[in-house]
Symmetry: C2
Subunit: 256 residues, 2 copies
DNA sequence: CGCGATTTGTGCACGCCTTCACAAGCGCCT
DNA sequence: AGGCGCTTGTGAAGGCGTGCACAAATCGCG
Protein backbone atom coordinates (compact mmCIF):
# COMPACT_ATOMS: atom_id res chain seq x y z
CA UNK A 1 0.00 0.00 0.00
CA UNK A 2 1.00 3.63 0.28
CA UNK A 3 3.90 4.70 2.33
CA UNK A 4 2.86 5.46 5.81
CA UNK A 5 2.20 9.10 5.50
CA UNK A 6 1.79 11.02 8.63
CA UNK A 7 -0.69 13.83 8.31
CA UNK A 8 0.35 17.07 9.84
CA UNK A 9 4.01 16.31 9.98
CA UNK A 10 5.50 17.87 6.89
CA UNK A 11 8.48 16.29 5.31
CA UNK A 12 9.35 13.82 7.94
CA UNK A 13 11.83 11.19 6.99
CA UNK A 14 11.48 7.54 7.75
CA UNK A 15 12.03 8.30 11.39
CA UNK A 16 9.74 6.78 13.91
CA UNK A 17 7.39 9.52 15.00
CA UNK A 18 6.24 10.15 18.48
CA UNK A 19 3.42 8.04 19.73
CA UNK A 20 1.01 9.59 22.15
CA UNK A 21 0.47 7.38 25.14
CA UNK A 22 -3.16 6.53 24.85
CA UNK A 23 -5.39 5.30 27.65
CA UNK A 24 -5.86 1.57 27.40
CA UNK A 25 -9.59 1.99 27.13
CA UNK A 26 -9.08 4.19 24.10
CA UNK A 27 -6.71 1.75 22.45
CA UNK A 28 -9.25 -1.00 22.86
CA UNK A 29 -11.84 1.05 21.01
CA UNK A 30 -9.71 2.30 18.15
CA UNK A 31 -10.04 -0.94 16.16
CA UNK A 32 -13.79 -0.62 16.39
CA UNK A 33 -13.66 2.91 15.05
CA UNK A 34 -11.40 1.73 12.31
CA UNK A 35 -13.81 -0.94 11.22
CA UNK A 36 -16.69 1.51 11.24
CA UNK A 37 -14.63 3.96 9.20
CA UNK A 38 -13.85 1.34 6.60
CA UNK A 39 -17.53 0.63 6.25
CA UNK A 40 -18.27 4.31 5.87
CA UNK A 41 -15.55 4.73 3.29
CA UNK A 42 -16.94 1.85 1.27
CA UNK A 43 -20.37 3.38 1.27
CA UNK A 44 -19.01 6.59 -0.14
CA UNK A 45 -18.83 8.86 2.88
CA UNK A 46 -15.97 11.30 2.79
CA UNK A 47 -16.63 12.92 6.13
CA UNK A 48 -18.45 11.80 9.21
CA UNK A 49 -19.54 13.54 12.36
CA UNK A 50 -18.66 12.27 15.79
CA UNK A 51 -22.30 11.41 16.25
CA UNK A 52 -22.40 9.36 13.08
CA UNK A 53 -19.18 7.53 13.72
CA UNK A 54 -20.08 6.94 17.33
CA UNK A 55 -23.35 5.27 16.48
CA UNK A 56 -21.65 3.19 13.78
CA UNK A 57 -19.16 2.02 16.35
CA UNK A 58 -21.69 1.58 19.09
CA UNK A 59 -20.34 4.10 21.56
CA UNK A 60 -21.15 7.46 23.03
CA UNK A 61 -20.24 10.44 20.87
CA UNK A 62 -18.51 12.31 23.66
CA UNK A 63 -16.37 9.29 24.34
CA UNK A 64 -15.47 9.03 20.70
CA UNK A 65 -14.44 12.67 20.52
CA UNK A 66 -12.28 12.33 23.57
CA UNK A 67 -10.71 9.18 22.21
CA UNK A 68 -9.89 10.84 18.91
CA UNK A 69 -8.66 13.96 20.64
CA UNK A 70 -5.90 11.86 22.15
CA UNK A 71 -4.59 11.24 18.66
CA UNK A 72 -4.54 14.95 17.90
CA UNK A 73 -6.92 17.27 16.15
CA UNK A 74 -7.98 15.63 12.96
CA UNK A 75 -11.54 16.88 12.82
CA UNK A 76 -12.98 20.07 11.41
CA UNK A 77 -15.42 21.94 13.57
CA UNK A 78 -18.71 22.40 11.92
CA UNK A 79 -17.97 19.61 9.46
CA UNK A 80 -16.74 16.45 11.08
CA UNK A 81 -13.87 14.08 10.47
CA UNK A 82 -12.31 13.26 7.14
CA UNK A 83 -12.85 9.53 6.81
CA UNK A 84 -9.75 8.72 4.79
CA UNK A 85 -7.54 10.86 6.95
CA UNK A 86 -8.83 9.30 10.14
CA UNK A 87 -8.38 5.81 8.74
CA UNK A 88 -4.76 6.54 7.98
CA UNK A 89 -4.21 8.07 11.36
CA UNK A 90 -5.72 5.21 13.34
CA UNK A 91 -3.96 2.61 11.24
CA UNK A 92 -0.71 4.39 11.87
CA UNK A 93 -1.23 4.58 15.61
CA UNK A 94 -2.20 0.93 15.78
CA UNK A 95 0.92 0.03 13.88
CA UNK A 96 -1.00 -1.41 10.97
CA UNK A 97 1.00 0.37 8.30
CA UNK A 98 3.14 -2.70 8.24
CA UNK A 99 1.55 -6.06 7.82
CA UNK A 100 2.55 -8.05 10.88
CA UNK A 101 3.41 -11.70 10.69
CA UNK A 102 1.56 -14.00 13.04
CA UNK A 103 2.53 -17.47 14.14
CA UNK A 104 -0.29 -19.75 15.13
CA UNK A 105 0.53 -22.60 17.48
CA UNK A 106 -1.93 -25.43 17.86
CA UNK A 107 -4.01 -26.48 14.88
CA UNK A 108 -6.65 -28.42 16.71
CA UNK A 109 -10.27 -27.55 16.53
CA UNK A 110 -9.95 -23.86 17.20
CA UNK A 111 -6.56 -23.40 15.59
CA UNK A 112 -7.92 -24.82 12.37
CA UNK A 113 -10.62 -22.20 12.29
CA UNK A 114 -8.24 -19.40 13.15
CA UNK A 115 -5.89 -20.45 10.38
CA UNK A 116 -8.71 -20.12 7.90
CA UNK A 117 -10.20 -16.98 9.34
CA UNK A 118 -9.95 -14.32 6.67
CA UNK A 119 -10.65 -11.54 9.13
CA UNK A 120 -6.99 -11.53 10.01
CA UNK A 121 -5.72 -10.97 6.51
CA UNK A 122 -8.28 -8.30 5.80
CA UNK A 123 -7.29 -6.31 8.82
CA UNK A 124 -3.57 -6.04 8.59
CA UNK A 125 -2.20 -9.40 9.64
CA UNK A 126 -0.62 -12.29 7.85
CA UNK A 127 -0.61 -15.74 9.28
CA UNK A 128 2.92 -16.68 8.40
CA UNK A 129 3.28 -20.10 9.97
CA UNK A 130 1.35 -22.88 11.64
CA UNK A 131 2.82 -25.11 14.33
CA UNK A 132 1.78 -28.11 16.31
CA UNK A 133 3.48 -30.57 18.60
CA UNK A 134 1.55 -33.55 17.31
CA UNK A 135 3.52 -35.35 14.57
CA UNK A 136 0.21 -36.53 13.16
CA UNK A 137 -0.67 -32.98 12.27
CA UNK A 138 2.70 -31.88 10.98
CA UNK A 139 2.63 -31.75 7.21
CA UNK A 140 -1.05 -31.12 6.95
CA UNK A 141 -1.94 -28.21 4.72
CA UNK A 142 -4.39 -25.61 5.94
CA UNK A 143 -5.35 -22.57 3.93
CA UNK A 144 -2.22 -22.82 1.87
CA UNK A 145 0.14 -23.27 4.79
CA UNK A 146 1.84 -26.45 5.87
CA UNK A 147 1.79 -27.25 9.55
CA UNK A 148 5.29 -27.43 10.94
CA UNK A 149 6.56 -28.98 14.12
CA UNK A 150 6.92 -26.61 17.02
CA UNK A 151 10.64 -27.32 17.11
CA UNK A 152 10.93 -25.44 13.84
CA UNK A 153 9.79 -22.29 15.57
CA UNK A 154 13.24 -20.74 16.12
CA UNK A 155 14.17 -21.03 12.46
CA UNK A 156 10.84 -19.89 11.09
CA UNK A 157 10.51 -17.03 13.55
CA UNK A 158 13.59 -15.44 12.10
CA UNK A 159 12.79 -16.21 8.49
CA UNK A 160 9.30 -14.81 8.72
CA UNK A 161 9.96 -12.02 11.21
CA UNK A 162 7.26 -13.28 13.50
CA UNK A 163 5.87 -10.45 15.59
CA UNK A 164 2.88 -11.98 17.28
CA UNK A 165 2.15 -15.45 18.55
CA UNK A 166 -1.29 -16.98 18.83
CA UNK A 167 -1.72 -19.90 21.20
CA UNK A 168 -4.58 -22.24 20.40
CA UNK A 169 -3.33 -25.33 22.17
CA UNK A 170 -4.92 -27.23 25.04
CA UNK A 171 -4.36 -25.53 28.36
CA UNK A 172 -1.66 -27.87 29.65
CA UNK A 173 0.58 -27.09 26.70
CA UNK A 174 0.07 -23.36 26.63
CA UNK A 175 2.72 -22.28 29.11
CA UNK A 176 5.44 -24.25 27.37
CA UNK A 177 4.45 -22.76 24.04
CA UNK A 178 4.46 -19.29 25.53
CA UNK A 179 7.96 -19.88 26.83
CA UNK A 180 9.08 -20.99 23.40
CA UNK A 181 7.53 -17.97 21.76
CA UNK A 182 9.19 -15.65 24.22
CA UNK A 183 12.47 -17.42 23.69
CA UNK A 184 12.45 -16.57 19.99
CA UNK A 185 11.71 -12.95 20.67
CA UNK A 186 7.95 -12.73 20.38
CA UNK A 187 6.68 -9.95 22.62
CA UNK A 188 2.96 -10.15 21.94
CA UNK A 189 0.83 -13.19 22.57
CA UNK A 190 -2.82 -13.84 22.02
CA UNK A 191 -3.87 -16.74 24.21
CA UNK A 192 -6.95 -18.84 23.55
CA UNK A 193 -6.07 -21.51 26.06
CA UNK A 194 -8.03 -21.33 29.29
CA UNK A 195 -5.13 -20.76 31.64
CA UNK A 196 -2.95 -18.04 33.07
CA UNK A 197 0.33 -17.48 31.30
CA UNK A 198 3.33 -16.14 33.09
CA UNK A 199 5.66 -14.19 30.87
CA UNK A 200 8.59 -11.88 31.47
CA UNK A 201 8.10 -8.17 31.74
CA UNK A 202 7.80 -6.48 28.41
CA UNK A 203 5.72 -9.23 26.86
CA UNK A 204 2.08 -8.44 26.29
CA UNK A 205 -0.50 -11.14 26.69
CA UNK A 206 -4.13 -10.86 25.77
CA UNK A 207 -6.50 -13.64 26.56
CA UNK A 208 -9.64 -14.75 24.83
CA UNK A 209 -11.66 -17.37 26.65
CA UNK A 210 -14.79 -18.38 24.85
CA UNK A 211 -16.32 -20.16 27.81
CA UNK A 212 -15.80 -17.17 30.06
CA UNK A 213 -17.86 -15.03 27.76
CA UNK A 214 -20.70 -17.50 27.97
CA UNK A 215 -20.41 -17.63 31.73
CA UNK A 216 -20.69 -13.88 31.97
CA UNK A 217 -23.82 -14.05 29.85
CA UNK A 218 -25.07 -16.83 32.05
CA UNK A 219 -24.75 -14.58 35.08
CA UNK A 220 -26.91 -11.95 33.48
CA UNK A 221 -29.42 -14.57 32.41
CA UNK A 222 -29.53 -15.81 35.96
CA UNK A 223 -30.03 -12.33 37.32
CA UNK A 224 -32.72 -11.52 34.78
CA UNK A 225 -34.50 -14.76 35.57
CA UNK A 226 -34.42 -14.08 39.27
CA UNK A 227 -36.00 -10.69 38.72
CA UNK A 228 -38.85 -11.76 36.50
CA UNK A 229 -41.28 -13.86 38.41
CA UNK A 230 -41.83 -16.51 35.82
CA UNK A 231 -40.62 -16.94 32.30
CA UNK A 232 -43.50 -17.01 29.88
CA UNK A 233 -41.75 -19.20 27.36
CA UNK A 234 -43.24 -22.17 29.13
CA UNK A 235 -40.19 -24.27 28.71
CA UNK A 236 -38.60 -26.49 31.25
CA UNK A 237 -37.13 -23.68 33.23
CA UNK A 238 -36.94 -25.66 36.41
CA UNK A 239 -35.02 -28.67 35.31
CA UNK A 240 -32.08 -27.66 37.40
CA UNK A 241 -31.27 -27.47 41.06
CA UNK A 242 -32.05 -30.96 42.29
CA UNK A 243 -32.69 -29.80 45.81
CA UNK A 244 -35.95 -28.23 44.83
CA UNK A 245 -34.61 -24.75 44.93
CA UNK A 246 -37.24 -22.16 44.30
CA UNK A 247 -35.73 -19.24 42.53
CA UNK A 248 -38.36 -16.78 43.47
CA UNK A 249 -36.42 -14.20 45.33
CA UNK A 250 -36.20 -10.74 44.00
CA UNK A 251 -36.49 -7.34 45.41
CA UNK A 252 -34.13 -5.11 43.56
CA UNK A 253 -34.95 -3.26 40.44
CA UNK A 254 -32.00 -2.65 38.24
CA UNK A 255 -30.91 0.71 39.49
CA UNK A 256 -29.56 2.32 36.40
CA UNK B 1 -25.30 -2.75 51.67
CA UNK B 2 -25.23 -6.45 51.54
CA UNK B 3 -27.80 -8.54 53.27
CA UNK B 4 -26.37 -11.79 52.18
CA UNK B 5 -27.31 -13.62 55.26
CA UNK B 6 -26.81 -17.22 54.63
CA UNK B 7 -28.58 -19.37 57.18
CA UNK B 8 -28.05 -23.02 57.70
CA UNK B 9 -25.80 -25.12 55.61
CA UNK B 10 -24.85 -23.30 52.45
CA UNK B 11 -23.82 -26.54 50.91
CA UNK B 12 -24.50 -27.31 47.32
CA UNK B 13 -28.08 -26.93 46.22
CA UNK B 14 -29.08 -25.53 49.54
CA UNK B 15 -28.21 -21.98 48.74
CA UNK B 16 -30.59 -19.16 49.28
CA UNK B 17 -30.86 -17.28 46.03
CA UNK B 18 -30.21 -13.79 47.23
CA UNK B 19 -28.39 -12.43 44.25
CA UNK B 20 -26.18 -9.57 45.22
CA UNK B 21 -25.68 -7.11 42.43
CA UNK B 22 -22.04 -7.53 41.63
CA UNK B 23 -19.80 -5.00 39.93
CA UNK B 24 -19.31 -5.91 36.30
CA UNK B 25 -15.59 -6.13 36.76
CA UNK B 26 -16.12 -8.72 39.45
CA UNK B 27 -18.51 -10.73 37.32
CA UNK B 28 -15.95 -10.83 34.55
CA UNK B 29 -13.36 -12.31 36.89
CA UNK B 30 -15.52 -14.91 38.59
CA UNK B 31 -15.20 -17.41 35.74
CA UNK B 32 -11.45 -17.15 36.02
CA UNK B 33 -11.61 -17.88 39.73
CA UNK B 34 -13.87 -20.78 39.01
CA UNK B 35 -11.47 -22.30 36.56
CA UNK B 36 -8.59 -21.90 38.99
CA UNK B 37 -10.67 -23.48 41.74
CA UNK B 38 -11.49 -26.49 39.59
CA UNK B 39 -7.80 -26.97 38.95
CA UNK B 40 -7.07 -26.74 42.65
CA UNK B 41 -9.81 -29.19 43.48
CA UNK B 42 -8.44 -31.68 40.99
CA UNK B 43 -5.02 -31.46 42.50
CA UNK B 44 -6.40 -32.30 45.89
CA UNK B 45 -6.55 -28.94 47.62
CA UNK B 46 -9.43 -28.60 50.04
CA UNK B 47 -8.74 -25.05 51.08
CA UNK B 48 -6.88 -22.20 49.46
CA UNK B 49 -5.77 -18.80 50.64
CA UNK B 50 -6.61 -15.63 48.83
CA UNK B 51 -2.97 -15.35 47.92
CA UNK B 52 -2.90 -18.82 46.42
CA UNK B 53 -6.10 -18.48 44.49
CA UNK B 54 -5.16 -15.02 43.32
CA UNK B 55 -1.90 -16.17 41.82
CA UNK B 56 -3.62 -19.15 40.23
CA UNK B 57 -6.09 -16.79 38.63
CA UNK B 58 -3.53 -14.17 37.74
CA UNK B 59 -4.89 -11.32 39.82
CA UNK B 60 -4.08 -9.31 42.88
CA UNK B 61 -4.99 -10.95 46.18
CA UNK B 62 -6.71 -7.86 47.54
CA UNK B 63 -8.81 -7.68 44.44
CA UNK B 64 -9.76 -11.31 44.79
CA UNK B 65 -10.78 -10.87 48.41
CA UNK B 66 -12.90 -7.88 47.54
CA UNK B 67 -14.51 -9.75 44.68
CA UNK B 68 -15.36 -12.71 46.86
CA UNK B 69 -16.59 -10.48 49.65
CA UNK B 70 -19.31 -9.32 47.30
CA UNK B 71 -20.65 -12.86 47.27
CA UNK B 72 -20.72 -13.00 51.04
CA UNK B 73 -18.39 -14.34 53.66
CA UNK B 74 -17.35 -17.76 52.57
CA UNK B 75 -13.80 -17.72 53.84
CA UNK B 76 -12.38 -18.57 57.22
CA UNK B 77 -9.91 -16.14 58.70
CA UNK B 78 -6.63 -17.72 59.45
CA UNK B 79 -7.40 -20.61 57.12
CA UNK B 80 -8.61 -19.55 53.71
CA UNK B 81 -11.46 -20.53 51.46
CA UNK B 82 -13.05 -23.94 51.21
CA UNK B 83 -12.51 -24.89 47.61
CA UNK B 84 -15.62 -26.99 47.14
CA UNK B 85 -17.82 -24.47 48.86
CA UNK B 86 -16.48 -21.62 46.81
CA UNK B 87 -16.95 -23.57 43.61
CA UNK B 88 -20.58 -24.16 44.46
CA UNK B 89 -21.09 -20.57 45.40
CA UNK B 90 -19.57 -19.12 42.26
CA UNK B 91 -21.35 -21.59 40.04
CA UNK B 92 -24.58 -20.64 41.65
CA UNK B 93 -24.03 -16.94 41.25
CA UNK B 94 -23.06 -17.41 37.63
CA UNK B 95 -26.18 -19.41 37.06
CA UNK B 96 -24.29 -22.54 36.16
CA UNK B 97 -26.30 -24.84 38.39
CA UNK B 98 -28.45 -25.43 35.38
CA UNK B 99 -26.84 -26.43 32.15
CA UNK B 100 -27.80 -23.76 29.68
CA UNK B 101 -28.68 -24.60 26.13
CA UNK B 102 -26.82 -22.70 23.45
CA UNK B 103 -27.79 -22.22 19.84
CA UNK B 104 -24.96 -21.65 17.42
CA UNK B 105 -25.76 -19.84 14.21
CA UNK B 106 -23.30 -19.97 11.36
CA UNK B 107 -21.24 -23.08 10.85
CA UNK B 108 -18.59 -21.63 8.64
CA UNK B 109 -14.96 -21.65 9.51
CA UNK B 110 -15.30 -20.36 13.03
CA UNK B 111 -18.68 -21.87 13.76
CA UNK B 112 -17.32 -25.27 12.92
CA UNK B 113 -14.63 -24.91 15.52
CA UNK B 114 -17.00 -23.57 18.13
CA UNK B 115 -19.36 -26.47 17.57
CA UNK B 116 -16.56 -28.85 18.33
CA UNK B 117 -15.06 -26.89 21.18
CA UNK B 118 -15.32 -29.08 24.27
CA UNK B 119 -14.61 -26.17 26.56
CA UNK B 120 -18.27 -25.27 26.41
CA UNK B 121 -19.56 -28.61 27.56
CA UNK B 122 -17.02 -28.86 30.32
CA UNK B 123 -17.99 -25.53 31.73
CA UNK B 124 -21.70 -25.69 32.05
CA UNK B 125 -23.07 -25.25 28.58
CA UNK B 126 -24.66 -27.51 26.05
CA UNK B 127 -24.66 -26.71 22.40
CA UNK B 128 -28.18 -27.72 21.63
CA UNK B 129 -28.53 -26.78 18.00
CA UNK B 130 -26.61 -25.63 14.96
CA UNK B 131 -28.05 -23.36 12.32
CA UNK B 132 -27.01 -21.95 9.01
CA UNK B 133 -28.71 -20.12 6.18
CA UNK B 134 -26.78 -21.92 3.47
CA UNK B 135 -28.75 -24.94 2.16
CA UNK B 136 -25.44 -26.53 1.27
CA UNK B 137 -24.56 -26.78 4.92
CA UNK B 138 -27.93 -27.86 6.22
CA UNK B 139 -27.87 -31.54 7.01
CA UNK B 140 -24.19 -31.70 7.69
CA UNK B 141 -23.33 -33.40 10.94
CA UNK B 142 -20.87 -31.74 13.28
CA UNK B 143 -19.93 -33.20 16.63
CA UNK B 144 -23.06 -35.25 16.74
CA UNK B 145 -25.40 -32.45 15.78
CA UNK B 146 -27.09 -31.93 12.47
CA UNK B 147 -27.03 -28.45 11.02
CA UNK B 148 -30.52 -27.10 10.60
CA UNK B 149 -31.80 -24.25 8.53
CA UNK B 150 -32.15 -20.98 10.35
CA UNK B 151 -35.86 -21.01 9.64
CA UNK B 152 -36.16 -23.90 12.06
CA UNK B 153 -35.03 -21.64 14.86
CA UNK B 154 -38.47 -20.82 16.29
CA UNK B 155 -39.41 -24.47 16.64
CA UNK B 156 -36.08 -25.62 18.01
CA UNK B 157 -35.75 -22.71 20.39
CA UNK B 158 -38.84 -23.85 22.21
CA UNK B 159 -38.03 -27.54 22.09
CA UNK B 160 -34.56 -27.07 23.44
CA UNK B 161 -35.20 -24.11 25.74
CA UNK B 162 -32.51 -22.10 24.09
CA UNK B 163 -31.12 -19.55 26.50
CA UNK B 164 -28.11 -18.17 24.69
CA UNK B 165 -27.39 -17.54 21.06
CA UNK B 166 -23.96 -17.53 19.51
CA UNK B 167 -23.51 -15.71 16.22
CA UNK B 168 -20.67 -16.92 14.06
CA UNK B 169 -21.90 -15.69 10.72
CA UNK B 170 -20.32 -13.20 8.35
CA UNK B 171 -20.87 -9.62 9.45
CA UNK B 172 -23.58 -8.77 6.91
CA UNK B 173 -25.82 -11.53 8.19
CA UNK B 174 -25.30 -10.95 11.88
CA UNK B 175 -27.95 -8.32 12.51
CA UNK B 176 -30.67 -10.37 10.87
CA UNK B 177 -29.69 -13.40 12.91
CA UNK B 178 -29.69 -11.33 16.07
CA UNK B 179 -33.18 -10.15 15.26
CA UNK B 180 -34.32 -13.72 14.76
CA UNK B 181 -32.78 -14.80 18.03
CA UNK B 182 -34.42 -11.96 19.89
CA UNK B 183 -37.71 -12.80 18.23
CA UNK B 184 -37.70 -16.29 19.71
CA UNK B 185 -36.94 -14.99 23.17
CA UNK B 186 -33.18 -15.25 23.43
CA UNK B 187 -31.91 -12.55 25.77
CA UNK B 188 -28.19 -13.26 25.70
CA UNK B 189 -26.06 -13.18 22.58
CA UNK B 190 -22.41 -13.85 22.03
CA UNK B 191 -21.37 -12.19 18.80
CA UNK B 192 -18.29 -13.22 16.85
CA UNK B 193 -19.16 -11.20 13.79
CA UNK B 194 -17.22 -7.97 13.42
CA UNK B 195 -20.11 -5.56 13.57
CA UNK B 196 -22.28 -3.69 16.01
CA UNK B 197 -25.57 -5.33 16.85
CA UNK B 198 -28.55 -3.33 17.86
CA UNK B 199 -30.91 -5.18 20.15
CA UNK B 200 -33.81 -4.17 22.34
CA UNK B 201 -33.29 -3.25 25.94
CA UNK B 202 -32.98 -6.23 28.20
CA UNK B 203 -30.94 -8.25 25.74
CA UNK B 204 -27.28 -8.69 26.61
CA UNK B 205 -24.72 -8.81 23.85
CA UNK B 206 -21.10 -9.66 24.33
CA UNK B 207 -18.72 -9.37 21.45
CA UNK B 208 -15.58 -11.26 20.65
CA UNK B 209 -13.58 -9.91 17.76
CA UNK B 210 -10.44 -11.85 17.07
CA UNK B 211 -8.92 -9.23 14.81
CA UNK B 212 -9.43 -6.49 17.37
CA UNK B 213 -7.36 -8.40 19.87
CA UNK B 214 -4.55 -8.61 17.39
CA UNK B 215 -4.83 -4.94 16.60
CA UNK B 216 -4.52 -4.04 20.24
CA UNK B 217 -1.42 -6.17 20.44
CA UNK B 218 -0.17 -4.48 17.32
CA UNK B 219 -0.48 -1.12 18.99
CA UNK B 220 1.70 -2.24 21.85
CA UNK B 221 4.20 -3.74 19.44
CA UNK B 222 4.29 -0.47 17.61
CA UNK B 223 4.79 1.47 20.80
CA UNK B 224 7.49 -0.83 22.04
CA UNK B 225 9.27 -0.59 18.71
CA UNK B 226 9.07 3.19 18.62
CA UNK B 227 10.58 3.41 22.06
CA UNK B 228 13.52 1.13 21.41
CA UNK B 229 14.17 2.42 17.94
CA UNK B 230 14.72 6.08 18.55
CA UNK B 231 15.65 7.57 21.90
CA UNK B 232 14.99 11.18 20.93
CA UNK B 233 13.59 12.45 17.69
CA UNK B 234 15.64 14.99 15.87
CA UNK B 235 14.21 18.06 17.42
CA UNK B 236 12.26 19.58 14.55
CA UNK B 237 8.58 20.28 14.42
CA UNK B 238 7.16 16.80 14.57
CA UNK B 239 4.28 18.34 16.43
CA UNK B 240 1.60 16.30 14.80
CA UNK B 241 1.11 14.42 17.98
CA UNK B 242 1.30 16.79 20.90
CA UNK B 243 2.33 15.39 24.17
CA UNK B 244 5.55 13.99 22.83
CA UNK B 245 6.55 10.61 23.97
CA UNK B 246 5.97 10.57 27.63
CA UNK B 247 7.08 7.13 28.54
CA UNK B 248 4.73 6.38 31.35
CA UNK B 249 4.05 2.87 30.39
CA UNK B 250 4.53 -0.21 32.51
CA UNK B 251 1.36 -2.21 32.71
CA UNK B 252 2.05 -5.26 30.72
CA UNK B 253 -0.18 -8.25 30.64
CA UNK B 254 -3.40 -6.54 29.87
CA UNK B 255 -6.31 -8.32 31.37
CA UNK B 256 -9.78 -7.62 30.24
C1' DC C 1 -6.78 -20.86 78.61
C1' DG C 2 -4.25 -17.51 76.48
C1' DC C 3 -1.07 -16.12 72.96
C1' DG C 4 0.88 -15.68 68.58
C1' DA C 5 0.65 -16.68 63.74
C1' DT C 6 -2.12 -16.39 59.96
C1' DT C 7 -5.63 -14.84 56.86
C1' DT C 8 -9.99 -12.68 55.77
C1' DG C 9 -12.87 -8.67 55.15
C1' DT C 10 -13.01 -3.72 54.50
C1' DG C 11 -12.43 1.45 55.12
C1' DC C 12 -9.99 4.71 52.55
C1' DA C 13 -7.44 7.13 49.19
C1' DC C 14 -6.06 7.44 44.58
C1' DG C 15 -6.34 7.21 39.65
C1' DC C 16 -8.72 6.09 35.46
C1' DC C 17 -12.69 6.45 32.75
C1' DT C 18 -17.03 8.30 31.51
C1' DT C 19 -20.27 11.88 30.83
C1' DC C 20 -21.94 16.51 30.74
C1' DA C 21 -21.86 20.98 29.20
C1' DC C 22 -20.00 24.63 26.75
C1' DA C 23 -16.58 27.69 24.56
C1' DA C 24 -13.98 27.84 20.34
C1' DG C 25 -13.72 27.22 15.58
C1' DC C 26 -15.42 26.48 10.89
C1' DG C 27 -18.35 26.90 6.77
C1' DC C 28 -22.27 28.80 4.60
C1' DC C 29 -25.68 32.12 3.57
C1' DT C 30 -27.26 36.69 3.21
C1' DA D 1 -18.25 41.17 5.84
C1' DG D 2 -20.98 39.64 9.32
C1' DG D 3 -23.95 36.57 11.48
C1' DC D 4 -25.74 31.98 12.23
C1' DG D 5 -25.85 27.14 12.76
C1' DC D 6 -23.26 23.18 13.31
C1' DT D 7 -19.48 20.35 15.22
C1' DT D 8 -15.25 19.64 17.51
C1' DG D 9 -12.30 19.69 21.47
C1' DT D 10 -11.96 20.03 26.41
C1' DG D 11 -12.49 21.49 31.43
C1' DA D 12 -14.85 19.73 35.24
C1' DA D 13 -17.55 16.60 37.91
C1' DG D 14 -18.92 12.20 39.18
C1' DG D 15 -18.55 7.16 39.33
C1' DC D 16 -16.14 3.01 39.29
C1' DG D 17 -12.33 0.07 40.16
C1' DT D 18 -7.94 -0.86 42.32
C1' DG D 19 -4.66 -1.48 45.88
C1' DC D 20 -2.97 -0.45 50.48
C1' DA D 21 -3.06 -1.14 55.13
C1' DC D 22 -5.13 -2.71 59.13
C1' DA D 23 -8.67 -4.39 62.41
C1' DA D 24 -11.21 -8.55 63.26
C1' DA D 25 -11.46 -13.38 63.44
C1' DT D 26 -9.85 -18.08 63.60
C1' DC D 27 -6.70 -21.97 64.46
C1' DG D 28 -2.93 -24.38 66.69
C1' DC D 29 0.01 -24.95 70.45
C1' DG D 30 2.22 -24.61 74.75
Amino acid sequence: MSQHRHPGAPGRAGAVPALPDLPEATVARLPEYLRALHNLAESGHETVSSEGLASAAGVNSAKLRKDLSHLGSYGTRGVGYDVALLVDQIEFVLGLTQRRAVALVGVGNLGHALAGYDGFASRGFRIAALFDADPERVGEEISGLVVQHIDELPRVAVEESIAIGVIATPAPAAQAVADQLVAVGVTSILNFAPCVLSVPEGVDVRKVDLAIELQILSFHEHRKASLTALPATGGSALTALPGGLAVTDSQEAIGT
